[in-house]
């Protein structure tokens, strides 16, 4: 399982993003080009103004064919996720 934790700089932005409902299992499945069943968890965690995403790994960590044992560089598609928020 790959977990990606996104920390928002401001509580206001965190709340707007959470309430806008733009980051969902469906939108992440499309971004990562995997099936929605593979997006295991999308949770907004207010105490840390964080979004936690868990994705099923396409191959187990360090199993033959893996490209990133620590899952440390798989967050890049998130950097291209863009959407509009209400003011």
């Amino acid at each position: 399982m790959l977990t990606l934790d996104v920390f928002f700089k401001e509580r206001e932005i965190f709340r707007k993003v959470r309430d806008a409902g733009v980051i969902t299992k469906a939108s992440l499945a499309e971004l990562y080009r995997v099936s929605e069943d593979d997006i295991l968890e999308v949770t907004f965690f207010e105490p840390a103004e964080a979004l936690k995403i868990s994705i099923k790994r396409w191959v187990s960590s360090a199993a033959p064919g893996d490209t990133d044992v620590f899952g440390a560089q798989q967050h890049v598609p998130l950097m291209s996720l863009s959407f509009e928020l209400e003011k």
Binding site: L40, F45, A50, S54, A63, T67
Partner: protein, 460 residues
């Protein structure tokens, strides 16, 4: 006791720590030093390794481990506080515990030290897991398949993550140094607080934040010291290096770390419920945490980790820079794959695997990569896995030779399609393992599978 202080010198034993940070930590008069010495993060290699096997054997790391152990043992003994090490040797099997214990005894002899050492084992017999499986007491943890008896038979080593209880027992028996096998990360840090009657939820939550050293600080570091102070209804965390500070952000972030569910931390025997947790900036570098609650599971379960041997790996690394070769790269790789299958047909197709990773195109993200462009040069990593090291090396050499001399259409430079950085080109990389057990097992009590052996070191 109103408060208890636990020092966490580094994220993983072997990552090191500045001497000044340790000194500052000890000046705060901690009641225990605890350190996590292992993880599944680096993969199953260390769990699967057998005595005398592989280039990256445990002995390779002895110098790094000793460099951390020596100052920690001396500091702990001088202050008359326990040193608690968990998940010894990276994977926490019996071999690993013995290896670290041997290092510690060597240091004790060199330094003329005497102390009581507890060794706690965490390796589990295949027969026990199969019996528990028959009783319906083994369940998948996360998105893994149900365990079968065959899976258990194929495991070369199985460990269970102990909770805090074996550490508490060892402390009760007067251990001054504890070397434990695989343990749940917070256990080493929560043991002293729990022994002294502090709240279990707060103790474990504090342990979870402390276990990664100064990663929970800003700027974060896996090789620096952090101090936890637990009180009756809250705990505090603060880095010992004056150039770092703990912030609400850095500490809360660390509560999320490595957990699927940010609201609940699953631990052996129960869950820490964080739904009412609050993080507050106590000073500009110290954070206060409160509200963590431990909810006991009716059935005590431990996490099992098991590794099976897949084969042996040999690799070859080379660069490709010629634009014409780059344009025909996939064709070359495919042709090499086909020719290799012909050449090694006698081995049987299931007996070997071949992987190409093209760095500069999609080496990092593989099938998830969305960029289609390729850099002006790529790093090609050829990896052969086979039943023996010799077979893997033969295959790797054959593959690299096929690619090196491949005559793609329009080729004008015939010296070779690959730029090798050194000799030899093919590097035997030792055994390949796969995690094949990642399941929860019900146990009758928290201690029964984690035998504790007490040794008086320096008493020969």
């Amino acid at each position: 006791m109103d408060e208890l202080r636990i020092l966490s010198p580094t994220a993983i034993l072997g990552y090191g720590f500045p001497a000044e940070s340790l000194a500052e930590g000890m000046a705060n008069k901690p009641h225990a030093i605890a350190v996590d010495a292992g993880s599944t993060d680096p993969g199953p290699y260390f769990l699967g390794i057998q005595p005398g096997e592989g280039g990256a054997s445990l002995a390779q790391f002895a110098r790094t481990m000793a460099a951390d152990l020596r100052p920690l043992i001396k500091a702990a003994l001088q202050a008359r506080i326990p040193l608690i090490i968990g998940s010894a040797g990276g994977a926490g099997g019996n071999l690993h515990v013995m290896g670290i214990a041997r290092l510690i005894r060597g240091i004790a002899e060199q330094e003329g030290l005497k102390f009581r050492m507890a060794q706690i084992q965490a390796e589990i017999e295949q027969s026990l897991v199969k019996e528990k499986l028959r009783q319906g007491k083994v369940t998948p943890l996360g998105p893994v398949p149900e365990l079968s008896p065959d899976d258990v038979d194929r495991s070369v080593r199985i460990v269970a993550q102990m909770g805090v209880e074996p550490f508490v027992r060892a402390l009760e028996e007067g251990a001054e140094v504890i070397v434990a096998g695989r343990a749940s990360d917070p256990g080493m840090f929560a043991a002293s607080p729990i022994l002294e009657g502090f709240d279990k939820g707060l103790s474990i939550h504090m342990g979870k934040i402390l276990e990664c050293g100064a990663i929970a600080a800003e700027p974060g570091s896996g090789g620096d010291v952090i101090l936890g102070t637990i009180r009756r209804d809250h705990f505090l965390v603060e880095p010992m290096n004056p150039d770092r500070k703990c912030t609400v952000r850095s500490v809360a972030a660390h509560s999320l770390y490595e957990a699927a569910d940010p609201w609940r931390l699953s631990e052996p025997g129960g869950t820490v419920d964080l739904r009412e947790v609050s993080f507050a900036q106590e000073t500009n570098r110290r954070v206060r945490v409160s509200g963590s609650k431990f909810v006991k599971d009716p059935v005590y379960r431990v996490k099992l980790e098991g590794a099976e041997l897949v084969g042996y790996r040999t690799i070859c690394i080379a660069g490709v820079r010629d634009p014409a070769a780059l344009a025909h790269l996939d064709e070359m790789l495919e042709a090499a794959r086909i020719r290799t299958a012909e050449q090694f047909g006698d081995l049987g197709r299931a007996q070997w695997e071949l992987y190409f990773r093209v760095y500069g195109r999609d080496g990092v993200m593989g099938p998830l990569e969305v960029e289609s462009s390729m850099a002006h040069e790529v790093g090609l990593l050829i990896e052969a896995i086979a039943s023996t090291q010799e077979q893997a090396t033969s295959i790797c050499m054959f593959v690299h030779a096929q690619i090196l001399h491949y005559g793609f259409p329009g080729r004008t430079s015939t010296a070779g399609n690959l730029a090798f950085p050194f000799s030899p080109q093919d590097i035997p990389a030792g055994p390949v393992h796969r995690f094949n057990i990642y399941h929860l097992m019900e146990v009758d009590d928290p201690l029964v599978h984690f035998p504790i052996q007490m040794i008086e070191v320096g008493d020969d």
